[in-house]
């Protein structure tokens, strides 16, 4: 169901049950992991935070804990990777399609994408996960990496 997500989702870049209270806080936590792991340049975190303000990435799933997929331009990316954070309490992101609408977000997939033609499968697997309510419920209760692997395979 979510084939391939674990291929680009670095286990070291998974943060479960974060206490972050704003979208900027969780973006910077996850971006810090991607930077430390060599996926992105030091400019990436600021670029994502800025882009989230101008073109937000919250996805309305008609849940109490929606999903956001922050990302930015390829120039800030060194190699493709994905970080994931789940939040203990949802934080607010704006709706991608209607930036005036605020969404409670419980899951953040931070994307480091630099070649759309090679990263289609990873993007598709992120979308498949987003569209699978059972997978999201499983991630919400995940406390260990093994829990995450059991959900995302």
């Amino acid at each position: 169901m979510s084939d391939g997500l674990m291929q680009l989702l670095d286990p070291e870049a998974i943060v479960l049950g974060s206490d972050a209270s704003t979208n900027e806080e969780i973006i910077r936590i996850l971006a810090g992991r991607l930077e430390a792991l060599g996926y992105v340049k030091s400019s990436y975190a600021d670029a994502v935070v800025h882009r989230e303000r101008t073109t937000p990435t919250g996805l309305p799933l008609e849940r109490a804990d929606n999903v956001a997929v922050p990302h930015t331009d390829p120039e800030h990316v060194l190699k493709p990777g994905i970080a994931m954070g789940t939040l203990r309490k949802p934080v607010t992101f704006a709706n991608m399609e209607d930036p005036d609408e605020k969404l409670p977000v419980g899951f953040v997939f931070l994307l480091a994408i630099n070649d759309k033609d090679k990263q289609i499968e990873a993007l598709q697997s992120v979308m498949a996960t987003i569209q699978n309510p059972e997978a999201l419920d499983g991630l919400r209760s995940a406390r260990t990496l093994d829990d995450v692997r059991a959900v995302l395979g």
Binding site: R51, T54, T55, T57, L59, P60, L61, E62, V69, H71, T72, D73, P74, M96, E97, D98, P99, L111, I113, N114, K116, Q119, I120, L123, Q124, V126, M127, I130, Q131
Partner: protein, 95 residues
């Protein structure tokens, strides 16, 4: 036979969500027996590219100055209301 139409897929960066939407629409339209040319761009680039395409599918708001039809593509990310949007796209492709 009518001319092959061109869809411009747009999103904030022109690389992430527009790619996912492009792939989803291409696969779904193939099943409906329809093909098209695809382009991708940042939402901010759409006003300069709109003249060269038939319509736009975007996950983010597009400038009101664009006169070509704009179809909302968020359904392909959320999965909610996908069939209805596919019907809209099919109708534009069959025009």
């Amino acid at each position: 036979m009518s001319r092959q139409k061109t869809i411009l897929f747009a999103c904030g960066t022109g690389i992430a969500t527009s790619t996912a939407v492009n792939v989803a629409v291409t696969e779904a339209m193939k099943k409906r027996g329809l093909t098209f040319n695809a382009q991708q761009a940042k939402a901010t680039e759409v006003p300069g590219l709109a003249d060269g395409v038939d319509f736009i599918v975007s996950t983010t708001p597009i400038s009101a100055s664009v006169t070509k039809p704009v179809i909302k593509g968020l359904a392909f990310l959320t999965g909610i209301g996908k069939d209805k949007v596919l019907d809209e796209i099919e109708a534009e492709l069959r025009k």
